[in-house]
Symmetry: C2
Subunit: 183 residues, 2 copies
C-alpha cells in the first residue's frame, strides 16, 4: 500500500511521514510543480492531484491550506500564501482593528487522484480566533496571530511537535489515511 | 483577419469591439470558462489562452486585470476580484490608513494563442494613486478608490465612455491589435 506525496515543503513531508507510518501506508515523495488554480482549496487540490496523477501514472496526493477569517468574508482563504507575502500579519491586524468577531479557521485539504480515478478531497480544520497582536516566534506565516480553541497559546507560541498534535494538516492527512487504508 | 475573445463580461466585449473595428480585425465572441492559475497576470493569461486555443482550434485572446498598490507590495494584484469580493474597498482603505506612498497602477494583460502557437502577452497600464475615501458611483470594484494621473477625478467619478479613452484595457487591446495587424 503506497501513495506519492507531491510537495516541495519538507515540513509537510515530515508531518505526513509520521502519520502514514502509523497507518502502515508507504509514502513516496516527489517534488514537482503543478498548476495551481484560482478557486477554493477543494478546486485547487482536485485539479492539482488529477494533473499529477495523469503525468506520473500513479496514485498521488497534494495538499493546500489557508487561514479563513469569518469577519473578512473568509479572506485570505486560498490566497493565504500570497497575502502573507504582501500585506503580511501587519495587514491582517490592520484589517481586524476594532473588529469584534475574531473567529477564524485554519483549513487543510488533501487532494487524491490516480490514473483514471476522479480526484477525491479530505478536509481538516482547526477552529480558533485572531489575536490582537503577534504572539510568539515559533511556527511561520499567520501562526503568531492564531489562537486555536484547544489552547490559550497562539500557534506561534507552541512547538511544531505540539502544534502537529492537533493541526489542520494532521486532521486532513488522517482522514485520507483512514479512507485509503479501507478502500 | 479574425480572432476570438473568450470572456463572460459584456463590458469587456463592448470595449474590445470598438477598438478592433478601428483596426479592421473581426472579433468573434465565445463565453466559456477556462482554468485560471494562481500566479501573476502574465502567467494567468498565457495558460488560459493556450488552453482555449487548443480546445477551440482557433486563434483566441483572453484578458486578465488587477489593481497593484506599491505600498502593499503590489497587493491585491492578480487576486483583485477575490479581494474585492471579500475585504472590498473598505478593506483597502483600512490597509492604506496612515500610508503616505499611495502610488498604484491598474494593469490589463491580453493573452493570445493559436493552435501550435506559443502564447504571447500584451500589457496595458494606467498609473495613479489611491484616494483617502471612496469617490463616485460610476464604474465598479476599485474604481472609486483610484485617481489616474491623467485626471483629478477617480475612475468612479467619470463615465465608462470617458474611462475607456485611456483605460488599462484599452491600452493592452491596442497593443495586441497593432501587433496582430502587422504580423
Amino acid at each position: 500500500m503506497k501513495v506519492t506525496f507531491i510537495t516541495g515543503n519538507q515540513h509537510k513531508l515530515k508531518e505526513a511521514e509520521n502519520i502514514f507510518q502509523k497507518f502502515g501506508i508507504k509514502l513516496k515523495h516527489v517534488n514537482i510543480g503543478y498548476p495551481e488554480l484560482q478557486g477554493n482549496l477543494e478546486e485547487v487540490a482536485k485539479y492539482g492531484a488529477k494533473h499529477v496523477a495523469k503525468r506520473l501514472e500513479e496514485p498521488v496526493i497534494v495538499e493546500d491550506a489557508g487561514l479563513f477569517i469569518k469577519a473578512l468574508d473568509w479572506f485570505p482563504g486560498p490566497y493565504s500564501a500570497y497575502v502573507q507575502d504582501t500585506i503580511g500579519n501587519e495587514g491582517i491586524l490592520k484589517l481586524m482593528k476594532n473588529v469584534e468577531d475574531r473567529y477564524a479557521e485554519f483549513r487543510s485539504v488533501i487532494g487524491y487522484s490516480a490514473p483514471n480515478v476522479e480526484p477525491k478531497i479530505f478536509l481538516g480544520t482547526v477552529k480558533g480566533h485572531i489575536s490582537k497582536e503577534e504572539k510568539g516566534n515559533c511556527g511561520f506565516a499567520f501562526d503568531p496571530l492564531f489562537y486555536p480553541s484547544e489552547n490559550n497559546k497562539t500557534f506561534g507560541e507552541i512547538s511544531t511537535y505540539e502544534k502537529n498534535e492537533f493541526s489542520h494538516r494532521r486532521r486532513s492527512l488522517e482522514h485520507f489515511c483512514n479512507w485509503y487504508k479501507n478502500k
